[in-house]
């Protein structure tokens, strides 16, 4: 079995750090997103935008990481913004109420 590879690409524009994800965000790949986020947050960043539009799958570990990042943002005084994932990964956010609690933004707002 060769799982769809998970990729994170980092991009920094001014005070905006952007991480674009593709593939499957699960228990195996979540640590890689966490590393990428830590690396980005080590720089002077006021807003971290995570683009989920390339996600093919997300599990509870992936979701937990996004929740943890949002908690960190609230505590440390930076802003987290999420670009919504496509179906079917979107349903995970819907059945958990995460769509109403995590800071999703409209793709046009970025």
């Amino acid at each position: 079995m060769q799982p769809a590879p998970f990729e994170v690409s980092s991009d920094k524009q001014g005070e905006d750090g952007k991480l674009a994800l593709s593939g499957e965000l699960d228990i195996a790949s979540a640590p890689r997103l966490e590393e990428a986020a830590d690396a980005m947050l080590a720089q002077p960043v006021r807003r971290l935008v995570i683009d989920l539009s390339g996600l093919t799958f997300i599990d509870s570990s992936g979701l937990r990481l996004l929740i943890a990042l949002n908690d960190r943002a609230n505590e440390d005084g930076w802003t987290l913004a999420l670009l919504p994932p496509p179906e079917p990964s979107r349903s995970v956010f819907q059945i958990t109420g995460a769509d109403e609690n995590l800071p999703f933004i409209d793709p046009s707002e970025q």
Binding site: M1, P3, I27, A28, D59, L63, I67, T96, A98, N101
Partner: protein, 701 residues
């Protein structure tokens, strides 16, 4: 074998060592690899391996090989020595020799390679071939020109005539064979030349004069180069040489003589043995978590290539020892070796042998074992007789050390093969002992972890399901692939004030941390239901309990209350259950917020009535997320299809069908825990017996 273990093995490798994950990325790159490829570890890690070290023209073949292995488990190149071209960081290419092995690591594969730069060897080979061509021309010309060319060759060269006698040898060959002049050599009996040596091939079989390439060339054959191990019968010195012979023909095309080039390959042979051994040892380590079996395998690997006899002992805390493995080149001698070991005292003497090693942690090397030493070591006549019968030529004992503590020792003995040991053998034995030590430690840690995990897991699930009047119930719990970790899925069924409660959930995370949260969730659910059994209220309390924890603790859960045919449920971010009946399969309930995660929460409750023969099925996402062929997920559609097909069956049968379907579908190890609760409403019966109900409810964990 986890990453830490592999890395420790690799630290002992003197060759370049690189590892790649299933996705083709470099995940390990040792110091020698930095030197060899001109690329630092920091730059190498995470890069695609193929684009970093494989020349473009070979990349496709590389990918096809990896894909084929991952798909069918076929890896024709694994464990073999390969020669190929490699790419340096500056774009230049150079020839390498490598041995690749694959390890199953957690739930994916990783690939490891020892890489050796063979530029020098390749250059020497092509230079030699060039000289050899000239030599053949020269043989038809003047004797003088021949001498010049032959002496230009660094390696020993001999020429064998039609009568099998050696008729010429350059200086290097004369030195090697121990002759003062070509004259003296010509008069020697060719059979006597091999007399002072024990000669064996790479497979350990004896090599006779008839097998020599030059002799076979004279018989009109076209032999492959032959690698022979020479052990001097007097000194025990070991040498590996490669013999390559070519025919010299006269003007009529008849074979006149055979030229042999004798190349000393002792150094590279030793490195290769070492590489092969380490590659095989990694596989042996990964193959079994039974450390006694692993040590027997490790001992077996050392024989016969490195020693004739290899033994492994473990020390205990009371100053004793346990003999765990003995391997001997000759199975008949194995029994003798074991009898011999029986003479060694169980109590270790700190001044000699194993006791000394245990005390100092230093290796001991006996390059020779004179009879006096044997007499001194013997405890009685019988022991002395046995020791002499073994015919020990040399021995070495190295410590097995784990984190600075000497836990055992590896003993290697050379006897029948007649070779002696030197420092390089001690170094190799030390590397083997390090691998063996790790395997013991890993096996011990693993079995402890598994035991802890099992105990913990069983405390998180009900011991037996209660019998609920008018309902039939079955449940399933399948922990993810590895059994040494506690999973995060749980379920429970219990009675609360005349109602029956069911909860199924998934705590994010693994191990002891997740187990602590699971335990909190279950206890909170029990206490909450005693106070107010409405599912929404149970979820409210679990949510606030989780939020009181200092670190983020997240859990999804579905809570169901049944009273006769009436059911009420609420979901805290958990997949909604399905109801299967004669009318088909439908989802019930409404989504609610994940527990412990958010400030903006809502847990809408839904009530409904079950009809006799209807079955409610609650799952965790391990079912729908199970991965099958082509990365496809099991999904809701497959689950619904199974429930439609089995809706008339009992919960036990439905469970069995679901397990079979999951096992059929799944490719590779199960990556997530799976829990399922199946509840079939059989129809209203007589008024339930309250007393019985309560007593059974208390029978839960």
């Amino acid at each position: 074998m986890d990453r830490g273990q592999s890395l420790e093995i690799l630290n002992v490798a003197h060759s370049a060592f690189i590892s790649m994950d299933e996705g083709g990325r470099i995940v390990y790159w040792n110091l020698r690899a930095e030197e060899l490829f001109g690329l630092s570890r920091a730059s190498a890690l995470g890069r695609p391996l193929a684009e970093t070290v494989i020349p473009e023209r070979h990349r496709e073949a590389h990918w096809l090989g990896v894909k084929r292995f991952l798909a069918d488990g076929e890896g024709p190149i694994l464990g073999k020595r390969l020669e190929m071209s490699a790419l340096r960081a500056d774009g230049s290419e150079f020839p390498v020799e490598l041995t690749v092995s694959a390890l199953a690591e957690r739930d994916s594969w990783s690939f490891h390679a020892f890489v050796l730069d063979i530029s020098a060897r390749k250059e020497a080979e092509s230079e030699r071939d060039r000289l050899l061509d000239e030599l053949k021309l020269a043989l038809q010309g003047s004797e003088q020109r021949l001498a010049v060319i032959v002496n230009a060759l660094a390696e020993a060269v001999t020429i064998r005539g039609r009568d099998d006698h050696l008729i010429y040898a350059n200086q290097a060959a004369l030195d090697r064979l121990g002759f003062a002049s070509v004259e003296e050599l010509r008069n020697a009996d060719p059979r006597a030349l091999m007399g002072p040596y024990q000669t064996t091939g790479e497979d350990g079989a004896e090599i006779r004069m008839e097998d020599l390439p030059s002799v076979r060339v004279l018989r009109g054959e076209d032999p492959e180069p032959l690698t022979i191990r020479f052990v001097n019968k007097d000194t025990g010195e070991e040498q590996w040489v490669m013999l390559k012979a070519t025919a010299v023909r006269d003007a009529n095309g008849e074979i006149e003589a055979a030229v042999t080039i004798i190349e000393d390959v002792t150094a590279s042979k030793r490195v290769n043995l070492q590489m092969e051994f380490l590659a095989r040892a990694s596989r042996v380590l990964a193959s079994s978590l039974d450390y006694q079996q692993t040590l027997r395998n490790v001992a077996g690997l050392a024989v016969p290539q490195i020693a004739d006899w290899c033994a492994v002992d473990l020390f205990d805390e009371n100053g004793g020892r346990e003999s765990v493995a003995v391997a001997h080149i000759d199975p008949a001698k194995l029994e003798m070796a074991e009898r011999l070991r029986a003479f060694e005292p169980e109590e270790l003497d700190p001044e000699q042998g194993l006791g000394l090693i245990k005390r100092t942690g230093e290796s001991i090397l006996y390059t020779e074992i004179p009879d006096e030493l044997i007499v001194e070591a013997a405890v009685d006549e019988e022991h002395l007789r046995l020791l002499r019968a073994v015919g020990m030529r040399a021995a070495l004992v190295v410590p097995m050390t784990v984190r600075g503590r000497t836990i055992g020792a590896l003993t290697m003995v050379s006897a029948d093969s007649g070779r002696s040991f030197d420092r390089s053998d001690v170094e190799l034995a030390e590397q083997i002992a390090e691998v063996a030590g790790l395997s013991v430690e890993n096996a011990r840690l693993y079995s402890e972890r598994t035991a802890v995990a099992r105990t913990l897991q069983s405390s998180l699930l009900p011991e037996a399901l209660p019998r609920i009047p008018c309902w039939e119930v079955a449940a399933l719990y399948r922990p993810a692939g590895r059994d040494s970790e506690v999973g995060g899925d749980f379920y429970d069924l219990w009675a609360a004030d005349g109602d029956w409660m069911m909860i199924i959930g998934d705590v994010t995370g693994k191990g002891v941390a997740a187990a602590t949260v699971t335990s909190l969730v279950r206890h909170t659910a029990w206490a909450a239901a005693d106070f107010d059994s409405r599912p929404t209220q149970v979820l409210v309390r679990i949510d606030s309990g989780l939020k009181r924890r200092p670190s983020l603790s997240v859990c999804s859960a579905l809570c169901l209350r049944v009273r006769g045919e009436r059911a009420t449920l609420a979901s805290g971010g958990h997949p909604l259950p399905l109801i299967a009946g004669p009318d088909g399969v439908r989802e019930v309930g409404r989504p609610g917020t994940l527990l412990g995660a958010f400030s903006n929460v809502e847990w809408p409750e839904e009530s409904f009535e079950m009809r006799p023969g209807e079955t409610l099925v609650a799952i965790t996402d391990g079912v729908t997320d199970a991965v099958g062929p082509n990365d496809e997920r099991f999904g809701m559609a497959r689950l619904k299809e199974i429930l439609e097909r089995t809706q008339m069956e009992t919960p036990m049968v439905i469970r069995a069908q679901l397990v079979a379907a999951l096992e059929d579908f799944q490719v590779g190890p199960q990556s997530d825990d799976t829990a399922v609760v199946i509840m079939r409403f059989t129809g209203a019966a007589a008024e339930p017996d309250r007393d019985e109900q309560t007593s059974r409810a208390r029978a839960r964990v």
